[in-house]
Amino acid sequence: MENVKLPDFVSNILKNMWVSCSEKAAKALSEMINKKVEISSTSLKLMRINEVPKLLNPEDATTTIIFTQLIDPIKGVIILSTPLKNILKMADIFLHKRLGFFKDLRDENLPVIKEFASILTGYYITTLNELLEIKYRYSAPFLYVNPYRAIEKFGLGSVYKEKIYVLTFKVSFKITEEEIKKDVVLLFGEDSIKQLLEKISKKIKFDIE
């Protein structure tokens, strides 16, 4: 798996699929908060799962992760990752507070933060359902403040004991007006990558080697 590289055209298909999900999520978010939301960058990488925290800005001790497990038919994880101050700003916006009102996670803002993550994730799941012609079963959102602990809970295996490879799609959203940045990462484990490619190949008729 170390030397595996996806053919360029497959990478492009997957990346387009990911961008399509992200554009719908960005549009919905923009309508919800009545502010301009931009997609600032996207990337697709194959990596060991224990390297995933590097994608999630671990050097910032306040990085907050909210993830949803995609249970079946194709196992995966959708992660919303952002510094704590950014997710608190979202809670300020949704709860009609002045920006900076919330200083920490607490009972008052947690339901809204989880609901926000759930709404955003819904756009990715809906688009995946449409593109892959499947009907995903998925978990409720989980919140963690340590990316290294979060990856142990993804349900993709013993991350520090086994060599687990994952396909990662990362997109960065920016709400310029409020200086809010957040990343969404989609992960698929090894078995899921094959299933994913099989689904796509059926739609556009190419052979998987």
């Binding site: 719908k24 919905a28 309508e31 919800m32 908060i33 949704f94 709860l95 009609h96 009972d107 008052e108 803002n109 339901p111 809204v112 989880k114 609901e115 926000f116 759930s118 709404i119 819904g122 756009y123 799941i125 809906t126 688009t127 359902n129 995903y136």
Partner: protein, 123 residues
């Protein structure tokens, strides 16, 4: 004939008051609850014909409040409609349907449209 009772559940008091004014003008009896917890408390003594519920609320979201309404034998059949800024995807809408939500009205709303939909829901 007794007036139809509508309960508006929203942490944004200005908005609740606005909805109350619009619906009272149309002859409805409107009760306000400023949180999910207050809604559940008021439901112990009041049986509204319709609950207009915000989703993004502190402490207990509209979704959690609705789930609690559905698990109580006295309130499980109450009609709930969401009145919210949230824009749901198809998957998100499916999860609302599972809670037997009667309608989904997005903020900002058109006053006439709100009245029309409320009348349809309690008619």
């Amino acid at each position: 004939m007794s007036k139809k009772k509508i309960m508006v559940v929203d942490d944004e008091e200005n908005l609740s008051e606005l909805v109350k004014a619009i619906l009272e003008r149309e002859g409805f009896d409107v009760i306000i609850a400023n949180s999910g917890i207050e809604c559940l408390e008021k439901l112990k003594t009041v049986q509204p014909d319709l609950i207009l519920m915000d989703i993004m609320m502190p402490i207990m979201s509209g979704r959690e409040t609705t789930e609690k309404i559905r698990t109580n034998s006295k309130t499980k059949n109450l009609k709930v409609a969401f009145l919210t800024v949230a824009r749901f995807s198809e998957v998100g809408m499916d999860s609302l349907k599972k809670m037997n939500v009667a309608d989904y009205i997005t903020k900002p709303f058109d006053n006439n449209d709100l009245v029309k939909r409320v009348k349809r829901l309690v008619g």
